[in-house]
């Protein structure tokens, strides 16, 4: 029972991180139909900032968390402004390839600055377990799950209730009509990148908390799996990203638990293939009809 519970918590923890990253993919796709392949690498930026602040500057973990999230947000918005915004009216393939380019730029840039060796991110807190009755739960896992729940609720409120959220939904449905209704499309898109990247920043801190390292290519596999999660749930859908993330997390947890951890990546991509065959629009995705 104890093992079962801790495994479930592991699955939730991993799934939560995937969910946070998948939200960024899904939001950006929802608004400008771009698969932002550089999104996973934003996690790497966040992890390095945490390492810099704590291991190099020796500052308080709270500062590290805040700076990581802020840095990710800024990098996300900057990427949009510098790389994607000039291509807003270009064919979608151009901007997609640009996204891959940005991803390589970030990875190689980090390698140039920090070297190829992974850096060890110090523990954010001395507390490693919390006791619930006589069951000991991993503290980073509990924090990860709680933070993800709060972030998801906040994001849902933001999208459903705030004026900017309404503008985001309007732009995602019909950018031209939104413009004609007086919505500033560029700032709405920047805002979307900011929110998605901030979530990635939170994901970065939680990831560093769980796996305690930062390396130039850490965002690659993490980003790809989060992308799988977003597609699984139905890209463009916020609940879809969360559910997709949890499914991917649990799938990995179960495979690892069965002692087949070398197969866990394969299983995730197998899941993707099955979903794409059975329901190509994903779990929460709606059938899309191309505008003519």
């Amino acid at each position: 029972m104890d093992i079962f519970l801790s495994q479930v918590l592991n699955g939730l923890q991993l799934g939560s991180i995937y969910a946070l990253v998948a939200l960024g993919y899904t939001m950006v796709y929802g608004i400008i139909l771009l698969l932002n392949f550089a999104h996973g690498d934003i996690i790497m930026v966040g992890a390095y900032v945490s390492w810099l602040v704590m291991a190099q500057l020796g500052l308080n973990p709270i500062i590290a968390i805040l700076l990581s999230v802020v840095a990710c947000t800024l990098v996300g918005v900057l990427i949009d402004k510098v790389a994607y915004a000039p291509l807003r009216n270009a064919p979608r393939l151009s901007i997609l390839i640009t996204a891959i380019g940005v991803s390589y730029f970030l990875e190689n840039g980090a390698q140039l600055v920090f070297g190829a060796d992974p850096k060890v991110v110090p523990a954010f807190t001395d507390v490693s377990t919390i006791k619930l009755g006589d069951i000991a739960l991993s503290f980073p896992a509990v924090v990860t799950v709680l933070v993800t729940v709060v972030a998801t609720i906040a994001l849902t409120l933001l999208v459903q209730k705030s004026k900017l959220g309404k503008a985001m939904r309007a732009v995602s449905e019909d950018m031209g009509a939104a413009r004609l209704m007086g919505i500033n499309v560029n700032s709405t898109i920047s805002f979307t990148f900011a929110v998605g990247s901030a979530l990635a920043g939170i994901g970065a801190v939680l990831y560093a908390m769980a796996y305690t390292q930062a390396s130039p290519t850490m965002g690659m596999m993490l980003g790809t799996k989060a992308f799988v999660a977003a597609v699984l749930g139905g890209i463009g859908s916020i609940p879809g990203a969360v559910v997709g993330g949890l499914i991917v997390g649990f799938a990995e947890m179960i495979v690892t638990w069965l002692g087949l951890s070398v197969w866990k990546d394969a299983v995730v991509f197998l899941l993707l293939i099955i979903v794409l065959i059975v329901k190509p629009t994903g779990i929460f995705g709606k059938t899309m009809s191309e505008k003519v």
Partner: protein, 284 residues
């Protein structure tokens, strides 16, 4: 009502109809003015030398065969297309170099030939998007739903419902816009445009797909909007009964050029118009 001809501003360029539009503000500048407006797509001149000057509470119509450039003119007036030649003034201010969103804020709003509502949002939310310009909200207040948020939300909720009342659409407030019946979607598009607080409303084929009874109702609604909001309305329409019934001035466009303008009566009897437009129907 006798009045001095010369006092009147040109409407779709000069028209010899002094007494038609008594409510026009004689002293003030036109709410919408375009001079020598034109655009080329590659070598093709889509619109050439288009002129208009609209009074503040005037209803004008733009007719012409398919492909004559009517929707292109709407796109030019709203800066969706950047004009190759000419200027557009909204309430005296030049729209050159302004973004589409800014031009909307300057006082021009439109509907679309093919309905372009935010179909996955509710009817009320569609209107609220239109209100966006006037809402002074704070992100954190909204998310945490602090008192300031409730106050503002309640206020805009009421305003949205009031606006929906104009077309008796209050009961639809929570329906997804995409699920509305066709006629109601057209009406909602007009309300969403009105929510942005325009001085000029552009209607692109508002009666498309409507039956005669619905068209009749639309005509009443167009006049009602003008009277209640005191705004100018420029409409593109193929339905002659609507154009002739509601417009005070009509311009006829063919191959991107205005070939005739005047009152509905004048237009109906203009041989050039019959040749270019109405003539086609007679042949059949």
């Amino acid at each position: 009502m006798p009045s001095d001809k010369k006092k009147h501003r040109p409407v779709l360029v000069q028209v010899e109809t002094p007494n038609l539009i008594p409510e026009r503000d004689l002293g003030s500048i036109p709410v919408l003015q375009a001079e020598h407006l034109g655009i080329d797509f590659g070598g093709l001149t889509a619109v050439d030398d288009f002129n208009i000057a609209m009074g503040r509470t005037e209803i004008s119509g733009l007719i012409g065969p398919n492909g004559a450039g009517k929707t292109t003119i709407f796109n030019l007036l709203t800066n969706v297309y950047k004009p190759t030649r000419g200027t557009v003034l909204i309430d005296g201010y030049d729209t050159a170099g302004k973004s589409v969103a800014d031009v909307n804020r300057m006082g021009i709003a439109r509907t679309f030939q093919n309905i372009r509502l935010f179909s996955k949002m509710t009817v009320e939310q569609n209107v609220l998007v239109g209100f966006g310009n006037t809402m002074k909200t704070h992100l954190i207040t909204d998310m945490l739903r602090l008192p300031g948020h409730w106050k503002q939300e309640a206020e805009f909720h009421d305003r949205a419902l009031e606006l929906l009342d104009i077309f008796d659409m209050r009961t639809y407030a929570d329906t997804l816009a995409g699920n509305l019946p066709y006629g109601a979607q057209r009406r909602l598009e007009i309300l969403r445009a009105l929510a942005t607080g325009p001085k000029v409303l552009l209607l692109d084929e508002p009666a498309a797909g409507m039956n005669p009874a619905e068209t009749e109702e639309l005509m009443e609604n167009i006049q009602k909007i003008r009277d209640e909001f005191q705004i100018a309305i420029l409409l593109i329409e193929h339905d002659m009964s609507l154009v002739m019934g509601v417009c005070e001035v009509v311009g006829v466009l063919d191959y991107g050029k205005i070939i005739a303008k005047g009152t509905p009566e004048q237009i109906q009897n203009d041989p050039r118009v019959i040749e270019a437009y109405l003539g086609k129907q007679e042949v059949k």
